[in-house]
């Protein structure tokens, strides 16, 4: 039987303090998988550390932000015929052993996307109040319009199968924040999304991309606006899927 190819896609921006630990953890706990770091034009030594650890590193020529870095990795996976992509953060929040659980769920079920969820079970993850409110709001919107419960639509910890890799790699309008909006779009298109409860750590070093006051407000406005358009858009039929 053909061995399935799995790729960890790690977008990284100024993560010199965290990246080595993350890479070592994946090498130790998921040694069967390949790792790709997409260095989003970091100003620190992220690239040097990745290369020193003999891990594949793609350098974006200029800073394209988180989502485009993820899509670069997905495009690489599509080009190199990977069967599964695991989106993994470079800040040390995601746990490699938990990623294996996502992968097992993707392999054993009919799920196209498996989301690592912090909120299905009490995993001890303490998230800021503003983020928790946002997550709850998007959970309600998804339940209302897609008739499915997704407890953590803002989780970037996901395992994608080949069909999704194919679709994301060809999306010309891949969103700047691929969160609840993308979940809704994929559910509307007929893809199967499942959640697996996972543990996550709190970020140890560096700054979150949703920090401050203005950024979360901008994020929420853009997200709601995009969701409105996805909801008024006619459902897109998925090729080769019922």
């Amino acid at each position: 039987m053909k061995k399935e190819k799995v790729l960890f896609v790690i977008p990284a921006y100024n993560e010199e303090e965290n990246i080595e630990k993350v890479l070592n953890e994946i090498k130790k706990d998921a040694s069967f998988a390949d790792i790709l770091v997409v260095n989003d034009c970091s100003k620190d030594n992220t690239e040097e550390i990745v290369r020193k650890n003999k891990v594949k590193c793609i350098n974006n020529i200029f800073n394209m932000k988180y989502a485009m870095a993820v899509q670069t990795g997905i495009k690489y996976a599509q080009k190199n015929n990977y069967d599964y992509v695991i989106q993994f953060d470079a800040d040390g929040q995601h746990i490699a052993k938990e990623a294996i659980r996502l992968l097992e769920e993707a392999k054993s079920s009919n799920a196209d996307i498996v989301i690592g969820s912090r909120y299905i079970k009490n995993t001890g993850y303490h998230c800021p109040l503003f983020r928790r409110i946002g997550t709850k709001m998007f959970e309600i919107i998804i339940k209302l319009f897609c008739k499915q419960e997704i407890a953590d639509p803002l989780s970037g910890f996901q395992c994608l199968n080949k069909k999704v890799i194919e679709r994301y790699s060809k999306m010309g309008n891949y969103p700047e924040f691929p969160d609840a909006n993308l979940v809704i779009e994929m559910l509307k298109a007929g893809y199967v999304i499942k959640e697996v409860p996972v543990k996550m750590r709190l970020r140890e070093n560096g700054e979150s991309m949703h920090g401050g006051i203005i950024k979360p407000i901008k994020y929420m406005t853009e997200m709601i606006y995009e969701i409105i358009f996805i909801l008024i858009q006619s459902p897109i039929k998925k090729k080769g899927n019922k």
Partner: protein
């Protein structure tokens, strides 16, 4: 009667923008301020005297001149945003072109 013309024009602008976004000819993100502007147009076409009330708040004697001010401010804002974006993209294109040139030389 005039009011109906304005309502028709405003609704046409609003639905035109929405349709372009739905057809993916206009990006969702870029459409935001145009949708906001068209919604204001729709509101003003239904309640034209609201501009006079707003003018009083700003101590402007002639209501429509406030409308012109808002229009100019909005267009200047969009223009500035676009100029900024063009400058950013120009930088990125130069960077890309230089990298392609270097790669071409290296792979010769």
């Amino acid at each position: 009667m005039k009011k109906i013309y304005f309502i028709i024009i405003a609704l046409f602008v609003f639905f035109y923008i929405i349709t372009e976004v739905r057809k993916k000819k206009f990006s969702v993100k870029e459409s935001f301020w145009w949708v906001v502007a068209s919604l204001i147009m729709v509101f003003l076409s239904f309640f034209p005297y609201s501009i006079d009330k707003l003018a009083k708040v700003f101590h402007v004697e002639y209501g429509p001149s406030l409308l012109f001010v808002f229009g100019i401010v909005f267009l200047t804002f969009i223009n500035f945003k676009n100029s900024k974006k063009i400058a950013e993209q120009q930088e990125k294109i130069i960077e890309l072109a230089q990298q392609v040139a270097i790669l071409k030389e290296e792979t010769k």
